[in-house]
Symmetry: D2
Subunit: 151 residues, 4 copies
């Protein structure tokens, strides 16, 4: 599945991001357990979808903040590992703008804002099926030793 | 189960906090699904425990940040609803200090730092079985209309 | 200086934002003391500039984080008060991406990300004269009673 | 000014923290300009005081958030450089709990929460003369190459 040598650079990067994400996703039992779907990935980018299930609600009957965070955090993880350099979360902040309810189709889109040396900043916007913003997430990544996918 | 009239004020508050937390916990399918145990609750306070299971790992083979966040977020929710005034999360930040691994016994302790009008600040410290700090969480709460437990 | 009645709605909003910002700026001794210049304001928006002076450095000889924060915080304040509803900061976070040095010309651009009921989220990007990102700031606003400019 | 060899370890650390802080403070034109006073420093710790002056107010006539942040940020800087390893701020968050007014005597106390490899977390609590909490600040530090004070 090596891209041919004459594929443009950006396309190669996308192929690499897809391979890394697929590798991570098959081992990411949380993202799988939440029913997260990968819509698109690229260098420094990812877009995920997830449907809110009854098992995702909290004591107020709305989607648990931890579930929304997990969706955003997975999008962040796929975006910051997309260049195959093993990278973990150092810290994150999330602002909850509106409640999500059972049946809502959430979308999380992660975009790289900064990447310098070992540290990156990624913004993730979580929206529902109507396009309404549910949460804004900002993640700080820290690159560690090694690659995700070995040769 | 009404406390007798001569019970000191603080004790009454703890009884109320326990009743509210139990009511919320039985409806909180996320906390239940994660196997979270309530250790202690009181006014503006909660302490929870959770064992890291294989299903909680991410693509790097360590506990998913969303799971650690969910544990802290539940502790925050029980602490900020402990006075029976319906309260939701406005925003949270989390710093990840060390990885948690399968089998680790995590403890999340939430403590109220500030409560004014409708807004509160709660700090949650997540530690493992050796007492090592796994994460520091800070939540901003917003009180909405109504009570959790009706008379 | 009332705008004529046939001015389009957006233009009226910009005129109001400018009037509110000017009123606030003449009373904002911190922004004035830092030599901040207003480049542009509009509904939910502001753009400021500031030159880093020798008096703005810290013990490491680079621009003090508090000065960069103050620039971003002023941009946030002008953006969230731009509709003439008195609004204060509830909380802010800032990530420092690169150092600013004496002589650097910093620009802070604040953009409204969310505004619901009394709460808003504003992102501010601080760049230097080369366009390099110096800091990312996110502010959470809280509307209080009253207007900035009285009739 | 070398401490004698029989001085306990902790005392040596405090002497070092004081020397580093003094060195930084004499070059920190922002802290000096704000009239900040050093009350106490130690390993991973600092306590500062500052009186709110008329020049520190914003367009709403209360102390500018950037000034409160600067006070907290200086406390953070002195705490995270206190072991003489050159350390800068990677990011900070602040929650504003109550307004500060002209004449208020603010105190900022910084306490180390975590220090691992090159990364630390410091909490700073800002209170006024009555002990009321004005702001909660959390800083993330990043150690860079070199020492603050050379031999």
């Amino acid at each position: 599945m090596d891209p041919p040598l004459n594929v443009p650079h950006r396309e190669n990067e996308t192929v690499l991001a897809e391979a890394v994400t697929n590798w991570m996703f098959t081992r990411d039992y949380v993202s799988q357990g939440l029913g997260i779907q990968i819509v698109e990935v690229g260098p420094g980018y990812s877009k995920l979808e997830m449907r809110v299930r009854p098992s995702m609600t909290n004591g107020h009957g709305i989607c648990h903040g931890g579930v929304i965070f997990s969706l955003a955090d997975s999008a962040f993880a796929f975006a910051c590992n997309s260049r195959n350099q093993k990278t973990v979360a150092a810290g994150c902040s999330i602002d909850f703008l509106s409640s999500a309810r059972v049946g809502d189709e959430l979308c999380a889109e992660a975009m790289e804002q900064s990447l310098q040396s070992r540290t990156g900043i990624y913004d993730v916007v979580v929206t529902d099926q109507s396009g309404k913003r549910v949460a804004l997430f900002r993640g700080r990544s820290h690159r560690v030793e090694g690659e995700v996918l070995k040769e």
